[in-house]
């Protein structure tokens, strides 16, 4: 199946997953495929993908609670009179076979770039902690490329995925809640499994027209 047909017809946001767990082999293979085909500036891949499997229910609930609190906090910051109780479509963060959280990572130059660094011929910003906030945009772009590739490979295997872009970007929040392995800023979260209930499509919940997004100069 080509890219358009695959994503147009098979990708749907999951509200609730079935109890069936996709095989570990399929998940590992999809992750490897995404790693193999996702390009990275200076081959740094300055991000880390944490895989939270079926045995990590407690951790998923902690992450879910942080996401919901973040949603409410943002709504109240923007609208002080808000009656927001969070996001009803986030349940997939807590109930899923696999949750992937992607975080920024300090990279190590490969031998090719190390030689240039030794000759004082280049500056490898991905290896410097002080540069992490400055390069976060470009890391987020790379994470998007990885996430989209992973999505395609999972969907090709008939495994559904859902995204979450509402979470705390402060790693301290996760550490305070007991997830001490999270030591850098989270950039994205996605879940996968076999979908049971998908998000309903509301008639007026539509994208901006293509002409609003794509402008011929």
């Amino acid at each position: 199946m080509n890219t358009f047909d695959l994503l147009e017809h098979k990708r749907k946001h999951v509200v609730e997953y079935k109890d069936d767990v996709p095989s570990l082999e399929k998940i590992k293979h999809s992750l490897w495929q995404a790693w193999k085909t996702t390009p990275s500036k200076n081959n740094a891949m300055a991000y880390q993908v944490f895989v939270w499997g079926p045995d990590k229910q407690k951790e998923k609930e902690i992450i879910y609670n942080i996401c919901q609190n973040t949603c409410v906090e943002i709504d109240h910051q923007g609208q002080p009179e808000s009656i927001s109780k969070g996001n009803k479509y986030l349940k997939h963060i807590k109930d899923n076979p696999f949750l992937f959280t992607i975080h920024q990572r300090l990279a190590t130059p490969n031998e090719y770039y190390q030689e240039s660094i030794d000759k004082n011929d280049m500056y490898y910003e991905q290896a410097h902690e002080s540069e992490m906030p400055k390069i976060i945009n470009s890391v987020a772009i790379e994470v998007g490329l990885f996430a989209q590739n992973l999505t395609s490979y999972l969907i090709e295997k008939d495994i559904d995925v859902s995204y979450n872009g509402c979470f705390s970007g402060n790693y301290i929040d996760y550490q305070k809640a007991g997830l001490t392995n999270i030591t850098t800023r989270p950039l994205f979260m996605l879940t996968c499994g076999y979908g049971k209930i998908y998000r309903r499509r509301f008639e007026n919940d539509i994208k901006p027209e293509a002409e609003e997004i794509i402008e011929w100069v």
Partner: protein
């Protein structure tokens, strides 16, 4: 062909053939990418400015911005005096920088089509109007003041579009290359008004560039030709460095 086999064909281009892609083909590919790219609350907080074959001057401007940023980063890294980042030196003295070339950026200057992904202020659709009013949701994507705060999430979403477009292009035998090296300051885009999200302040927030064309000479060939004995060492980190099972 599987998506994996398609994506394995992607290679960074150092030089494109002179033959251009028909505009109609690019339009269709862009429409398909728009159609299959998801977005949080359907906002799509980015826009894609398309510079076709007749926009060589603007492509050159973007290429100069890349070179300027590259030089600035290198200088900062080498602990040399950092230039004043509030001023874009290309406005005044372009000749000073023309010799600081990095072949990795050639694709930004010479290509069939160059796409620039940048921030956009969104509007509420009918459903989100209801959610904002009845559920107290804050639609930060509609606020100029939130563009900087949202830059990570918006960059991420723009790259979902770019990744889908990549797969669609490669399926059609069209090569693509990305560029992430350009100034991050919102003030330096004064001579590219189509990128502004804030027309009064003339501010733009650029997320990425992506060029399209028919590849003639690729980075992997350049590594073999010009970096003999070392080019093969330019490898990614191992997958288990990037992917960690908790």
């Amino acid at each position: 062909m599987s998506i994996f086999d398609t994506m394995e064909k992607r290679h960074h281009v150092y030089e494109y053939h002179k033959k251009n892609i028909p505009d109609e083909t690019v339009k269709e590919l862009l429409w398909k990418a728009w159609k299959i790219s998801p977005s949080k609350h359907n906002f799509m907080p980015y826009k894609v400015s398309v510079l076709g074959p007749n926009k060589q001057e603007d492509k050159f401007k973007m290429w100069k911005m890349c070179q300027y940023n590259h030089k600035r980063m290198e200088e900062a890294g080498a602990k040399l005096p950092r230039e004043d980042t509030s001023v874009n030196p290309y406005n005044d003295k372009p000749e000073e920088y023309t010799f600081h070339t990095n072949p990795a950026y050639n694709h930004v200057r010479y290509n069939s089509h160059l796409l620039i992904f940048s921030a956009r202020i969104c509007k509420l659709n009918g459903y989100m109007k209801h959610v904002v009013k009845k559920e107290g949701h804050y639609a930060e994507q509609c606020e100029k003041s939130e563009v900087s705060n949202l830059r990570v999430a918006s960059s991420f979403e723009a790259s979902l579009f770019a990744s889908n477009l990549t797969a669609l292009c490669i399926e059609q035998g069209i090569d693509v290359s990305y560029n992430l090296c350009f100034p991050g300051e919102k003030e330096v885009w004064k001579n590219m008004p189509y990128l502004w999200y804030d027309k009064e302040q003339q501010h733009a927030r650029v997320f990425a560039n992506m060029s399209l064309g028919y590849g003639k000479y690729f980075r992997h060939q350049w590594l073999k030709d010009r970096k003999k004995g070392i080019g093969h060492l330019d490898l990614k980190p191992e997958s288990d460095e990037v992917i960690e099972w908790v």
